[in-house]
Amino acid sequence: MVDLTTTYMGLTLKNPIVPSASPLSKSVSDIVRLAENGAAAVTMYSLFEEQIDMEALAQHHFLEQGSYSYAEALTYFPQTIEYNRGPEEYLDLIRQAKAAVDIPIIASLNGVTPGGWIGYARMMEQAGADAIECNVYLIPTRLDQDAAAIENIYLEVLKAVKATVKVPVAMKLSPFFSSLPNMAYRLDRAGADALVLFNRFYQPDLDIEELTVAPNLILSQSTELRLPLRWIAILYGHIKASLALTTGVHTAEDIVKAIMAGADVANVASVLLAQGVEKIPELLSGLQHWMEMHEYESVSQMKGALSQRSCPEPAAFERANYMKVLRSWSQTFLP
């Protein structure tokens, strides 16, 4: 029997499969189903501070709209309703999930103000979250904001949240840093308990018939695994923080690759959204089967085996990889 346990930011997990922040964790029953199907922990969907604020302001606006304008209709909605605005819904879910399952619950937070990051992180901890993943979902669009300013935002968020909570804190990162290793190193030094690679930013499509920008969510593919795989392989062994690989994990083999690159856990979402949470047992047995076939005893034995530090061809993660592709192409097609 192989040992699937892994350690992720100080949490001992029974296996390396952790569903990532997604609609899969919108309700207690969903979280229970994830746990029952073998998830080792759950990263809850992200609490967006901006969305909470916008929704509160919008709802307030529409409840007030048209009020006290006309003598017969001074307002349009029952005034005594308690509108449960803010993070209560999310915090309740943490509380209920903690009561319902025995796997760790990782809360995911996207803040916009320092007060928001600190306040919501504290509330999440108090509600029972075992860890907090900071989802710094940041698309830089300003021409006057340089790289250092962006990097500082990540560091400031991390420091603020770490100073507030005692539970472990993970940083979910963008792949678009000029020097990802340096960024990872600085976050590591600043106390990050884990780095989650990478945030898969929503990418709108263009509707050329309607001449509009079309919101359109596309689920990830296995091929997208390559990007986080490379960077985890490069970072493994150089930082203290745990590593989570997210994006493109669809098969047991993908999980094997993630672990061998150096990830402590493999985050899954798209495959579960597409095929259902019943996919988890299949992934687990696939992982187990592969390990047995290849005579691996434990996940820890596999971990980082093909990282840049441990693999037989370290240069393959750098420029040489490209060269090799070119060579194979020329050998095939050149006369």
């Binding site: 604020d53 007030e64 709209q65 449960n84």
Partner: protein
């Protein structure tokens, strides 16, 4: 002694508090101004608030007041403590049951915020005509004069009815008391418990019908016993005054406030006494105080128990010195020997031989102000040697000269009272902020506090006036502020529109929201305003509240900012303390809406003080600006003389002779009311335009129009007037223009949303784009005038069977006061375009009757020939029958005309007679030709002096095709008017019914109707409506003889046009149910069309047409015009606050109701699909 809270509430809440504590069953139906009582009761029960017996009262919304009264009667008959709340026509609908309830000696109290009964016009404001119509029902009538009294007497009435077994109307003045905010002592549960005798409650219950001890009530009786039985109830009525007084005494012992059946206030040796009930009694008391100080021997007798009228108590309450009594009635009984109170007092005098004279007068109809000056005029009249009897006060009656002269300078406002006036727009939140201010002052200071709010009759861009009084002494002032020591103008546009400073006192504080800073503002004021500021030595402050609002994300709501500015400069509270209290209040008010809302308002408070400046103005007038006249000089005489003063807020000054005695007003007058309320207006880019007409089609205010006209007409156009070649081949060589009416547009941007033509290089631009109005105003005003003067298209040249062509027809419904972005009015306007020159419209009471005919101006318009829709409103409940009456007249008159034509062929000639009687009028040309024939008939008959000729001349117009439209909302069609609607649809007569379905009672503030869909939050359905919407269309289709269509212009404008044309063409009754997005949905009104489309795409609103003519041809009569549901219901409904609010308040229930609502949608679609695919056979 129990601990009693000091609360700042209005009269409705005060009544509802007692009613909810002392009843088990409450049956309700919304009607202004009583709706709030039902809403409070419903909300409290939804929250689980219990009555004094520890159970939550059961609150049920009924389909009408008649229904509510029936349910109340039934619940009473089975032993429940039961109540209802109503007013005006609602109370009238209860009268049949009220006779029964009284005849059966049943204990109950109805709480009535007394309101005018509609006569020559509807009015939502207060008088006693409704309660006075109930005098013969056998109910006790107890009147409250102030908010505190409403709470006190509500309880006394409840205690008395249980003991007396006589049911009670407990009434108070609609709006003046029902909506006045006042600081009062709330009765504690212990007080209520102490007043209500449980033995009497048990006795009431024991009289309830039960099969355990069966009895029969409601028998039919014959002449032998009926009469005696009625007289057998006398002892109960004889005992009632004593019982009420005893309860008043008991109340005084418990609470400390002593009331009497008749409360006298004034000089013990008074010679002149006013007898009055309602809020006017408070005015009289304050006036008496003032006159007593001057040594006058005057007094007021407040009538509290009006029925049963105790002659002896009345006489005993008056000082023996009284020489003359003037009764004041807030009602009019034309033809009576005198108004009700007058007659009762006169009877008392006759019966007791009292030695004083009685005169009577009328005041305060439909909320007309009753001021101390008017009260003084009554006392002055009584002092005359020959006092005027049957007088009126408060108006100038120059027709029958009943009115008393009033000295406008008589003013008794105490100097130590803050009297603050605020002029705002509905949308800017002024009233809400003032509600908060009163509560802050009421709660946080020992001051008395009073707030009253006046609204104009528009639903968009409405002006609000807030009247706030605060002071160390009790406030007996239920009248508008007569002189103000604080005046705030919250909108710069009012500087031009209204003359507000005459009411300012010397040295008053004047706060102006101004886009101009302290150094520039002076020269932007009109000369007259500058003069008044100088003359009165006003302290003048400005703030650019819109800038502060923008900077703090508040949008157009400047409420918090202006409230902060008020506290900062009014001196009501120390500034820092006031700021703290405002913030506390913000947290209390908005805390449950989310921290972001609180923080945003905090930021607005903090930003206000640094943007508030005192203006140091010169001591002389410097401005070159004169206030413009209210209406253009070219307006008709009636508009100049009558409409314009009303628009300027001076309608009070119009004498009786200038007003149409029978309520008949000219149409087409909104065109003279230039409201300039749009911040932005659409600008046409003709290089992009595809001439689809969708912009004009969806415009709720007919403020953007399209016109096709001959190229040669385009001469001397203003420089910025735009035109392009018309693209349609059917009208070669014509020009085409899309034109905005810049001063009538409300800036809703629906036209831009509907515009399908995008700039190919920069798709963010369309053929219409919004741009700020002020720089465009004057040029576009000239352009619009030029556009209007261009010739209208000859209606016979086109078929109006598509959207584009329909919009080439002149709208005869324009510039109404409907909400910006209204979802109803485009349908109404379409009727006016397609059929307006021959339409006669019956309009149910509701939004459409309000924006359709609320003075000062009327949006129903006329074409160049002077033809246009003739319009009338009867009631809420009878609109279908009312419209059927139109058709009956037309059918009868056309039959009579045909008989006369047939019988007098010899005079008319066979050719004309045949043509008249067999005219084809399915087309515009056919109708035009018939009009010509009718004109020819009249010409030929002009010199025929015989009686038949005169008869024919007056009925021959009915041979021209008429289009009868019965229009109303879902509250009418689904609920209160459903029985009549059903009957009219089943009559087979040619009427067209248009249901503007907003799925909620919009006009009265969002109460649930049977059209409200499952899962939507509404008043009386605070937890989301648990049951599905009634399928009115399916019920109508079941007859098989009615044309039925369900439309949504935002989803398919083409189907909408088709349905309207088919409905009119169908030879029998037609019913169109039109999806009307509404402000009560809690949506971004600019996206109303999108919501319509989503409603259709989700299957919540399938589009269909059911045409019985198809069945005659052997085809399936039902055509589905929309596809099977293709998006989940949630994608449609959760864009709307009416649904999303439930997710925020009770997610689990929201989820459950969503599931059921989704199932409703799917089930209904399957049913429709089956119906639409059944093969049909020709009908025999």
């Amino acid at each position: 002694m129990p601990e009693r809270r000091i609360v700042t509430i209005d009269g409705n809440e005060a009544a509802a508090h007692i009613a909810h504590k002392t009843n088990e069953v409450i049956a309700i139906y919304p009607i202004t101004p009583s709706s709030n009582m039902g809403e409070w009761a419903d909300a409290w029960s939804a929250q689980g608030r219990k009555n004094i017996w520890g159970t939550v009262p059961l609150v049920v919304e009924m389909q009408s007041e008649g229904g509510a009264a029936g349910a109340v009667h039934g619940a009473l008959q089975t032993g429940s403590l039961t109540t209802t709340f109503t007013a005006s026509q609602g109370l009238l609908l209860m009268i049949p049951n009220m006779f029964k309830i009284a005849g059966e000696l049943t204990s109950t109290v109805f709480h009535v915020s007394a309101r005018t009964v509609a006569t020559h016009a509807l009015s939502i404001y207060g008088d006693h005509s409704d309660v006075m119509a109930c005098r013969s029902t056998g109910w006790g009538m107890l009147c409250s004069n102030s908010v505190q009294e409403v709470m006190d007497l509500a309880l006394i009435a409840q205690a008395a009815t249980l003991e007396a077994r006589v049911p009670f109307i407990h009434f108070f003045d609609g709006f003046r008391t029902s909506h006045e905010l006042n600081k009062i002592e709330e009765l504690a549960d212990e007080d209520i418990r102490a007043m209500i005798d449980d033995n009497l409650v048990m006795a009431h219950r024991a009289r309830g019908l039960t099969p355990e001890k069966p009895v029969v009530r409601g028998t039919a009786q014959n002449p032998d016993v009926f009469f005696q039985t009625r007289e057998a109830s006398n002892p109960y009525y004889l005992a009632t005054p004593g019982i009420v007084q005893a309860q008043m005494d008991k109340f005084a012992q418990l609470v400390g406030r002593q009331y009497h059946l008749f409360d006298y206030y004034g000089a013990p040796d008074a010679e002149r006494v006013i007898v009055v009930m309602g809020s006017a009694a408070e005015v009289a008391q304050a006036t008496v105080d003032h006159l007593l100080a001057q040594g006058e021997k005057v007094g007021v007798l407040k009538v509290r128990l009006y029925r049963p009228f105790s002659v002896q108590h009345f006489i005993d309450a008056l000082p023996s010195t009284v020489k003359i009594v003037a009764t004041l009635d807030r009602t009019k009984e034309p033809g009576a020997a005198g108004e009700p109170l007058y007659q009762d007092v006169a009877t008392a005098v006759v019966e007791t031989g009292a030695a004083f004279r009685v005169i009577g007068g009328r005041y305060g109809l439909a909320g007309k102000e009753f001021t101390p000056a008017m009260c003084k005029a009554v006392f002055d009249n009584m002092a005359q040697a020959k006092p005027k009897n049957h007088f009126t006060v408060g108006i100038v009656d120059d027709v029958t000269h009943t009115s008393l002269d009033v000295d406008p300078s008589f003013n008794i406002e105490p100097a130590n009272m803050v009297r603050a006036l605020f002029y705002g727009l509905g949308a800017d939140g002024t009233v809400g902020a003032n509600h908060n201010s009163i509560r802050i002052i009421g709660t946080e200071t020992p001051n008395s506090a009073q707030g009253f709010f006046v609204y104009d009759s528009k639903k968009s861009g409405s002006t609000t006036t807030s009247h706030l009084r605060f002071g160390p002494e009790a406030i007996h002032a239920p009248y508008l502020i007569q002189s103000a020591n604080f005046i705030a103008i919250h909108q710069w546009v009012f500087v031009e529109r209204y003359n507000v400073l005459p009411i300012a006192e010397k040295n008053a504080v004047f706060l102006l929201n101004s886009p101009y800073g302290p150094d520039e503002v002076w020269d932007q004021l009109p000369r007259s305003m500058q003069q008044q500021i100088i003359d009165k030595d006003l302290r003048f402050f400005v703030i650019d509240a819109y800038k502060v609002a923008r900077d703090t994300g508040m949008g157009v709501r400047i409420n918090t900012i202006m409230q902060t500015a008020f506290f900062a400069i009014s001196g009501v509270l120390p500034r820092d303390e006031a700021i703290d209290k405002i913030k506390e209040s913000i947290r209390k008010t908005y805390g449950r809406r989310g921290e972001a809302v609180v923080q945003q308002n905090f930021a607005a408070v903090d930003h206000t003080l640094s943007h508030l400046y005192e203006v140091h103005y010169p001591r002389q007038v410097t401005s070159q600006i004169e206030r413009p006249p209210t209406v253009d000089a070219s307006a008709p005489e009636f508009v100049q003389d009558v409409t314009a003063p009303i628009m300027a807020g001076l309608g009070e000054l119009l004498p009786a002779s200038m007003l149409p005695a029978d309520g008949t007003w000219p149409s087409a007058t909104t065109q003279w009311e230039k409201r300039n309320i749009a911040l932005e207006i659409p600008v046409w880019d003709e290089s992009i335009c595809i001439q689809c007409g969708k912009c004009a089609f969806v415009c709720p205010h007919a403020a953007i129009r399209t016109k096709v006209y001959p190229a040669e007409a385009l001469t001397d156009a203003p420089a910025t007037f735009k035109a392009m070649d018309y693209k349609g081949r059917e009208l070669p060589g014509m020009k085409y223009t899309v034109q905005v009416a810049p001063e009538d547009c409300t800036g809703c941007a629906l036209c831009v949303e509907a515009c399908p033509a995008k700039n190919k290089s920069e798709p963010r631009f369309k053929a219409l784009n919004m741009a700020p109005q002020p720089p465009l105003r004057f040029a576009e005003r000239d352009n619009f005038a030029y556009f209007i003067a261009l010739p209208e298209l000859d209606r016979t040249l086109i078929q109006p069977n598509n959207v584009k062509n329909s919009q080439m027809l002149q709208p005869l419904f324009e510039f109404s006061g409907a909400c910006s972005g209204c979802g109803e009015t485009p349908y109404v306007k379409l009727v006016s375009q397609l059929f307006g020159d021959r339409a006669i419209i019956a309009n149910a009471t509701g939004c459409s009757s309000i924006y359709g005919a609320n003075l000062p101006t009327t949006p129903w318009s006329v074409n160049k020939e002077g033809r246009g829709p003739a319009w009338s409103n009867s009631l809420f409940e009878d609109n279908a029958e009312f419209g059927l009456g139109f058709r009956l007249t037309l059918d009868k008159q056309s039959e009579f005309a045909a008989e006369l034509v047939q019988g007098h062929r010899d005079v008319l000639g066979d050719e004309l007679a045949d043509a008249l009687l067999n005219a084809e009028q399915a087309t515009e040309r056919g109708i035009m030709e018939q009009r010509a024939r009718v004109a020819a008939v009249k010409e030929r008959l002009a010199n025929v002096g015989e009686p038949w000729a005169r008869q024919l001349t007056t009925v021959v117009d009915s041979l021209i095709k008429r289009s009868v439209w019965i229009i109303g909302g879902d509250g009418w069609a689904y609920d209160i008017g459903y029985g009549g609607l059903d009957h009219v649809l089943a009559s087979g007569r040619k009427v067209n019914v248009l249901v503007l379905d907003t799925q909620v009672y919009s006009n009265t503030g969002g109460q649930s109707s049977k059209a409200t869909p499952r899962a939507a939050v509404a008043r009386f359905a605070a937890a989301g409506k648990p049951l599905p919407k009634k399928d009115l269309g399916a019920i109508a289709m079941s007859y098989g003889s009615i044309y039925v269509a369900q439309v949504a212009m935002g989803a398919s404008d083409a189907q909408t046009v088709r349905a309207f044309l088919e409905a009119e063409a169908y030879p029998g009754p037609s019913l169109i149910i039109a999806y009307s997005h509404c402000i009560a949905h809690g949506i971004n009104m600019t996206k109303g069309l999108d919501q319509q489309k989503l409603a259709v795409d989700s299957g919540a609103w399938p589009l269909y047409r059911f045409n019985p003519l198809l069945a005659e041809q052997g085809r399936n009569p039902l055509t589905l015009d929309s596809k099977a549901p293709k998006i989940p219901l949630r994608d449609y409904i959760y864009n709307e606050t009416r649904y999303s609010a439930l997710v925020r308040s009770d997610e689990e229930r929201a989820e459950m109701l969503l599931g059921l609502a989704q199932a409703d949608v799917e089930k209904r679609w399957r049913q429709y699909e089956q119906l639409a695919t059944i093969p049909s056979t020709p009908e025999k």
